[in-house]
């Protein structure tokens, strides 16, 4: 039984120094600051270190399969629109195994918030390249270095017309908390990529490496987050500078739920069990 709006944290299985601890704290503080009751919140993970997060907070949780958090989240939100649905995926989970779902969840614009914990490496399987690994990054499976260009989740999301695209950094909790709250408040699909150093498996993109490169969109570029072209340009930046903040925000797109007329009559799960009359009518049409 959950009381009030406080979320308990549970013992985690993460390595010391993992960026996930700051993300977990930021999620907890965001939900509490927004007065979201644990019963109203459904936290969904795929598989990976990031995707364990739902289990570590005392809210409704679902740990599903690798790559499949977004379709499950979509179904859950359609089933019960009263839920605040937040999904947690890694770069491998969301951009690799679940890449097709990522594209189409954005197209649907269902009202869920997705945090992609981007550490540019596979942690759970012990250090292989991910879709966002830098070109040339060497691992046991890529001894000669990664041969493909890295995928930018935020750039892809802006290109697809996602209404809320942001990037945070596990090393900046204050900003991350603000981004998570903005993302949850946004009506429609929200993507928050979080730079999350992995001290165990990624010795190249370290906390210090990120810290040197991270620049705030506002202070560095006076970025206008309503300008989609500028957002796309800056979402493509990676290397010497890594922008954080809100790339793009637009409230113009209607949510998927609002395009389904019958969902205006309240959550599907609350429907009374009255099927007899309607089935009789439908049967009549076959006579």
């Amino acid at each position: 039984m959950t009381n009030g709006n406080e979320y308990e944290k549970r013992t985690t299985a993460w390595c010391p120094g993992c960026g996930n601890f700051a993300i977990l704290d930021s999620v907890k503080e965001s939900l509490e600051a927004m007065n979201k009751k644990p019963r109203e919140v459904l936290l969904i993970g795929g598989i990976g270190q990031a995707s364990k997060l739902p289990q570590y907070l005392s809210a409704n949780s679902l740990c599903t399969l690798h790559g499949r958090a977004l379709p499950a989240a979509t179904g859950a939100k359609i089933g019960n629109t009263s839920l605040t649905v937040v999904a947690f995926c890694g770069d491998g989970d969301c951009y690799g195994e679940g890449g097709n779902h990522f594209i189409h969840a954005i197209r649907r614009n269902i009202d869920i918030t997705v945090l992609v914990h981007n550490n540019q490496v596979y942690g759970l399987t012990q250090g292989q390249a991910s879709p966002s690994s830098d070109m040339g990054f060497t691992t046991k499976v890529q001894p000669q270095g990664v041969r493909s260009t890295p995928l930018s989740g935020p750039a892809l999301a802006v290109a697809l017309g996602c209404g809320f695209v942001a990037r945070g950094f596990a090393g900046n909790k204050a900003q991350l908390i603000s981004l998570i709250q903005e993302g949850i408040r946004h009506r429609g699909f929200s993507l928050i990529e979080v730079i999350q150093p992995c001290p165990s498996m990624n010795r190249h993109n370290t906390f210090g490496w990120y810290k040197e490169r991270i620049r705030d969109l506002q202070s560095e570029w006076k970025h206008d987050s309503s300008n989609r072209t500028a957002a796309f340009e800056r979402a493509l930046l990676w290397g010497e500078t890594i922008p954080v903040g809100i790339f793009y925000r637009s409230e113009e797109g209607r949510t998927f739920e609002s395009r389904i007329p019958i969902l205006n009559n309240g959550p599907l799960v609350k429907r009374p069990l009255r099927r007899r009359e309607v089935t009789e009518k439908l049967i009549e049409a076959f006579i």
């Binding site: 019963r39 949780s61 179904g75 097709n100 019958i262 099927r275 309607v278 049967i283």
Partner: protein, 571 residues
């Protein structure tokens, strides 16, 4: 029994299905029983397709091979189907489409296109002319068809054009009818029976069962299910979504079910292959779900528009790890409807995936059935009542119980949080790795298998008098088996039938009892390896079965099967 077999052949795009449907439904409204199959090549336009109807004054739901009437809308249909006619049968054709002449007595030339043009229609109205000609030839009351056209095309310009074309064909056939053809179809009585496909029965069953969400990715022959439901969204208060792939389809339905909504997906074998990972997730997470597999011939792309019963082994074994599941295999439209209700109830009661096995033959065929009896529809669930949940001190999603079934709650049903997990987990749903928890929780889930088996009514069996032979089958061949046995019995060759619908968990005790005294057992399956025969052998030790297997992508025909069983025709 007075019956007539009509085959309409033509190219895709010539309106075969609408003509066949109108013909069938008109006869049903006049008190006849109609069973119809659809045979199509995997093409949007052209190719050769046919729609075949069997009309009878007695209940029937299976096909016979040879037509009494062939309506050839193109030249290929003449060449293909004229030789199939029974003696005394008749070919309706348009000379423009054929080099044949109308001189032979079994050929009846009807200028379909010319009459369509005279009635103000276009080439596509040739099918209405042909339809009218059949009604004229059979002296059938045309008002039934006229009324049907008005209902179907209500408010569209097509009404008058189609009726004119229909009348033109009817009058032509009445005037020029060949003397040699004496078959007629009379109005028996006005009846209230449904004329619908297996897919429509499946979709209706889902609605009756309170399914509120369906996601799917288009794949023949399953697409007709979501097509029907998508068109009933408002009326039936159901949400449908075409997913980006089958993986998303099954995971969306999983998410909605987790949220407390009865949900389903449908696909064919290739799509189910993509869903297999989630089948295992359903086993671990104990989220109920109904998955319809409309089988078609494999492997791989196989014959996309044709039929086969080859996914039985696949669906009973699919998925990594060990977990409980149910497989139902309805034998006709009526069973498809009630099986969907049963599928949702079993899924909900035992928190397991339920696979309903249909196939192209069941999905696309039209059946004549009495209106479904909704007093037989009940709801069974393991979901806790909200007030009961609110009063509870604590809640464990995966509570260990004697039955293996834990009381289910959904997120935001009460202040209790609900944890759902794909890892091994403890009773609360928190992931666990220790040996004792693993063994306890695995046993809890597997305990459900015997509980489910105990609810299985077992195979259906039918026999009259002393039978020297038993024919055995599963799923969509039910009506073919029953009529075949009936025909053999009428010839003094008494034959019993055993049919499996609820096939998994396999009802081994019931099967053993039924088969133990049987001699001369023939298993009839639409596959090449005899999957049911092997299951029977594995679970009952009874392996003295003969097999009649068909795997050319076509359904069994009753008259052919009778001859095959008697040994007069090679399968």
């Amino acid at each position: 029994m007075n019956e007539l077999n009509i085959k309409i052949g033509g190219a895709a795009g010539q309106g075969l299905q609408s003509a066949g449907f109108l013909l069938g439904k008109s006869f049903v409204r006049a008190g006849h029983f109609v069973f119809a199959i659809q045979d199509a090549m995997s093409r949007i336009r052209g190719g050769h397709n046919f729609f075949q109807l069997r009309v009878s004054d007695q209940p029937i739901a299976a096909m016979t091979a040879r037509p009494d009437i062939v309506i050839a809308l193109d030249r290929e249909s003449v060449e293909e189907h004229e030789p199939e006619l029974v003696s005394g049968g008749i070919l309706l054709f348009d000379a423009e489409a054929s080099r044949r002449t109308g001189e032979a007595t079994h050929r009846f030339y009807v200028p379909f296109k010319e009459l369509a043009a005279e009635s103000g229609g276009r080439a596509v109205h040739a099918n209405s002319v042909a339809l009218g000609a059949v009604f004229g030839l059979l002296d059938f009351d045309l008002n039934i068809a006229r009324k049907l056209i008005r209902e179907l095309f209500a408010g569209q310009d097509a009404v008058q054009t189609n009726i004119k074309a229909l009348d033109a064909g009817y009058n032509y056939a009445r005037d020029k009818r060949p003397n040699g053809f004496s078959r007629r179809i009379a109005v028996i009585e006005a009846t209230r029976r449904m004329f619908l496909t297996g897919s429509e029965a499946i979709a209706l069953g889902a609605i009756a069962a309170n399914c509120r969400f369906m996601s799917a990715y288009p794949m023949s022959p399953s697409t007709s299910i979501i097509t029907y439901l998508a068109n009933q969204e408002a009326q039936a208060d159901i949400v449908t979504e075409q997913a980006e792939d089958e993986i998303a389809a099954v995971n969306m339905a999983f998410g909605a079910s987790l949220a407390g909504v009865r949900s389903m997906t449908a696909t064919s074998g290739g799509g189910l292959a993509l869903m297999v990972e989630t089948l295992s997730l359903l086993g671990a997470s104990e989220v109920p779900l109904v998955i319809v597999d409309c089988q078609r011939p494999g492997p791989a792309t196989g014959l996309p528009t044709r039929t086969e019963q080859s996914d039985l082994f696949f669906v009973i074994h699919a998925g990594h790890g060990e977990f409980a599941r149910v497989v139902l295999a309805p034998g006709n439209a009526e069973q498809a409807f009630y099986d969907m209700v049963r599928a949702f109830n079993l899924a909900d009661r035992f928190q397991v995936p339920v696979v309903v096995l249909s196939d192209q033959y069941l999905c696309d065929s039209y059946f004549t059935v009495d209106p479904f009896d909704l007093s037989k529809v009940a709801y069974e669930t393991s979901l806790l009542a909200t007030d009961q949940l609110e009063r509870a001190e604590s809640y464990l999603r995966y509570q260990d119980t004697d039955t293996g079934v834990s009381p289910r709650a959904y997120p935001n049903q009460s202040d209790h949080i609900v944890m759902t997990d794909s890892h091994e987990h403890d009773e609360s749903g928190f992931m666990a790795d220790d040996a004792a928890t693993r063994v306890k929780m695995h046993q809890k889930r597997l305990r459900k298998i015997e509980r489910i088996r105990a609810t299985n009514p077992g195979p259906e069996s039918f026999s009259q008098g002393e039978c020297k032979r038993t024919i055995v089958g599963w799923g969509s061949t039910r009506e073919i088996l029953f009529e075949t046995a009936h025909r053999l019995s009428l010839e003094g060759d008494n034959t019993a039938v055993v049919h499996f619908d609820e096939i998994w968990p396999f009802p081994q005790q019931a099967a053993k009892l039924l088969l133990k005294d049987k001699t001369n057992t023939v298993v009839v399956e639409n596959n090449a390896t005899g999957q049911l025969a092997k299951l029977i052998a594995a679970y009952t030790g009874y392996n003295e079965t003969k097999r009649i297997l068909r795997y050319d992508g076509r359904p069994f025909m009753v008259d052919e099967l009778v001859e095959q069983i008697k040994g007069n025709l090679r399968p």
